[in-house]
């Protein structure tokens, strides 16, 4: 499937291993990435906080570019925050024809126009709803047997439930668990899975921000997780990059590796850890890498056929 691909800013900035690992695994999942390299930052809710119309116009431009991308089935992103911030703008644009026309008038000079009803999915949703869990299971070459993984979603991809179309038919707030399970791993039940990493207030109230990160990481440690996995690069910044500081705030050693979703998928697809940028994390995912080598040694070659 070909998708209009929006990697976001952070995956090309401070978490380059996310963008890299997504590009690495896409062909193995038959996802063709058509990059939206003309699109601007989604605003992460901050531009909307400053001026709602500005955020809506910038994102309408992105949506219009996605609709122009030839042969693509939908738009896909790899950042919970992009997903949520864009969903908020799209909700307003889709709800009101008059407002949409007003925003499109600003885009008209560039020959761009957003038509209501764009499908924009995070990679996590696409895995479950488009590729499907059975198909994903088929492609696993190195099942994550005995790897204990804690899901960490990021607020923007689980709330508000109505805006994100999360319901009994599409329980998108359970998908990480389903994916971990399909990859052969063990899903860890701990308190922090749907909570806030604290990143948005890192510069306004550092103590509280790091206390949030530290608390969830600590809960994962107590639940004997080997690692966390997240579809949000901003969560990754607070949980991984800031973990040394979070340890000081909560007063305990954490040493909890945090993986980006495409990295975890990539491991199960049989890609060596170094090709997934696992060496670039602040908290070395030693436990995870040791585990992969141990499993590889045990299994020997990739499982037959399939």
């Amino acid at each position: 499937m070909k998708v209009a691909y929006w990697p976001g800013c952070v995956s090309r900035g401070f978490t380059p291993e996310l963008h890299g690992s997504m590009a690495r695994i896409a062909p193995l999942l038959d996802i063709e990435l058509e990059p939206l390299d003309r699109a601007a930052c989604c605003g992460a809710g901050v531009i909307a906080e400053h001026n709602q119309e500005l955020a809506d116009t910038l994102n309408a431009r992105t949506f219009a570019l996605a609709q122009q991308a030839e042969g693509t089935a939908m738009m896909m992103n790899i950042c919970s925050t992009c997903q949520g911030a864009q969903a908020e703008c799209q909700e307003r644009l889709d709800a009101n024809a008059e407002y949409r026309a007003h925003i499109n008038a600003t885009l008209a000079d560039e020959g761009l126009s957003y038509e209501k009803g764009l499908t924009n999915k995070n990679f996590l949703w696409l895995l479950v709803e488009e590729l499907g869990l059975d198909e994903l299971r088929e492609r696993v070459r190195r099942p994550l047997t005995d790897l204990r993984v804690g899901p960490f979603y990021g607020c923007y991809i689980v709330r508000p439930t109505e805006r994100l179309h999360i319901d009994d038919e599409r329980p998108r707030d359970t998908y990480l668990g389903l994916v971990i399970d399909a990859l052969g791993g063990t899903v860890i039940d701990y308190a922090g899975a749907h909570k806030c990493c604290g990143f948005p207030i890192l510069m306004m109230n550092r103590e509280a921000s790091l206390a949030q990160a530290g608390r969830h990481l600590g809960d994962a440690v107590d639940a004997a997780a080997d690692c966390l996995v997240t579809p949000c690069p901003l969560c990754h910044l607070n949980l991984d990059l800031q973990q040394p500081l979070a340890e000081r705030v909560v007063g305990r050693e954490l040493d909890m590796p945090v993986l980006h979703l495409p990295q975890l998928v990539g491991l199960a697809l049989g890609i060596p850890p170094d090709q997934l940028g696992l060496g670039r994390h602040v908290v070395k995912p030693t436990a995870v890498i040791d585990w992969t080598t141990a499993v590889v040694a045990e299994v020997g070659a990739p499982s037959s056929g399939g």
């Binding site: 906080e49 500005l54 764009l118 179309h165 510069m203």
Partner: protein, 357 residues
């Protein structure tokens, strides 16, 4: 009639015993409420179950509890739905969070919720001179505050506020929504003073982590977080309040950097948020002190080649043609005489609305 089993969290702090779970099975029609089930269990099996309630019609805000881990009004939740969303077929009811338990399902609203409500001066400070009869205000100016006026003070948003979970001093969603009710009221005399106070408070409007918990929790669609964003917009854009918490500077820096590069330059965002919206901010001593305190993280990121010096010095940016488009959008939108905001709570959705996947 159908059978429903409740698992109630029982706790009496005065007894000295630890909290415990207790199950009761009741007979009720599936469309009846969780509150009715609790009251039936109380009447039939154990009169000592503590629950606060009054109107039973989702208007008095007394029966806020957590049902299957999610805050809601017990009288506003149908039994069949609650059972469907339970983990094991048993409807789990526990007291709200972030507030001390008085007994069983009753929490101390006074100790947290009402104290915070009083913190924001929850009454109109009348513009002088007070007119002889009513104030005459344009209808549109009041429409904006109707959403925050819908609050019934049930405390559901306070219960699950994730900022309050780690920072109990945070003023919180209910009180800040109430603050907007007066800041947005054209009859109020002191919107600037109110905003200045809430922006400068280290536990005020910039302490919200934007987690959307309160939006999902509210049984009345008040969307407290959206009201907090309105307070920030008023404080920063309308009154130019530069707060000591880096809130306004962070917002300004973010908006400026996206105008400049089309994409976000994280390396530049941090010093500007601390020191002001200028490329020279990183050289200010106060900013360098802040950056130095992050040294353990920065050093490791450099060591692992997560962040490279080249990336810090040369940010990613859009191609020239696209950058021009982005800047023109900025100019056009910011050039409008009035800021345009679409509040879907008020306008609703077009009738031909088709739900997108």
């Amino acid at each position: 009639m159908a059978e429903f089993t409740l698992r109630l969290r029982r706790y009496d702090p005065e007894s000295g015993d630890a909290p415990y779970w207790e199950e009761h099975t009741v007979d009720l029609e599936p469309h009846r409420s969780v509150l009715e089930a609790i009251l039936q269990a109380k009447a039939r099996f154990d009169g000592s179950i503590g629950i606060r309630c009054s109107c039973r019609a989702a208007i008095c805000g007394s029966c806020g509890v957590r049902i299957n881990g999610t805050p809601d009004l017990a009288c506003h939740t149908h039994l069949d739905k609650a059972q469907r969303h339970s983990r094991d077929g048993v409807i789990e009811v526990e007291p709200m969070g972030n507030m001390p338990v008085i007994k069983d399902l009753i929490v101390d609203m006074e100790a947290v919720h009402w104290k915070k409500i009083r913190r924001v001066t929850p009454w109109l400070i009348a513009k002088q001179p007070v007119p002889e009869r009513e104030y005459i205000v344009p209808r549109e100016t009041m429409v904006d505050v109707t959403q925050s006026m819908a609050c019934i003070q049930c405390g559901a948003c306070v219960s699950d506020c994730l900022a309050m979970e780690v920072d109990p001093d945070f003023i919180g969603p209910a009180a800040l929504a109430k603050a907007y009710r007066f800041v947005g009221d054209p009859r109020d005399d002191q919107p600037y003073e109110r905003l200045k106070d809430l922006a400068e408070d280290p536990h005020g409007i910039y302490d919200c982590t934007h987690c959307f918990m309160c939006i999902d929790a509210c049984p009345k669609d008040v969307a407290p977080m959206s009201q907090i964003m309105r307070l920030r917009r008023r404080a920063g854009s309308d009154y130019g309040i530069e707060d000591r918490n880096n809130g306004e500077r962070h917002e300004q820096a973010f908006v400026t950097l996206v105008r400049k590069y089309g994409l976000l330059d994280e390396a530049e965002l941090v010093p500007r948020s601390y020191g002001g919206d200028s490329p020279l901010s990183k050289f200010k001593p106060s900013v360098q002190k802040e950056l130095a305190s992050s040294l353990p993280s920065i050093a490791k990121a450099l060591l692992r080649r997560k962040v490279t010096p080249a990336k810090v010095l040369k940010p990613h940016r859009l191609a020239k043609r696209d950058l021009q488009q982005v800047r023109r959008i900025y100019e056009e939108v910011e050039g409008h005489p009035e800021r345009l905001e679409l509040n879907l709570y008020i306008t609703g959705y077009d009738e031909d609305e088709a739900v997108t996947p």
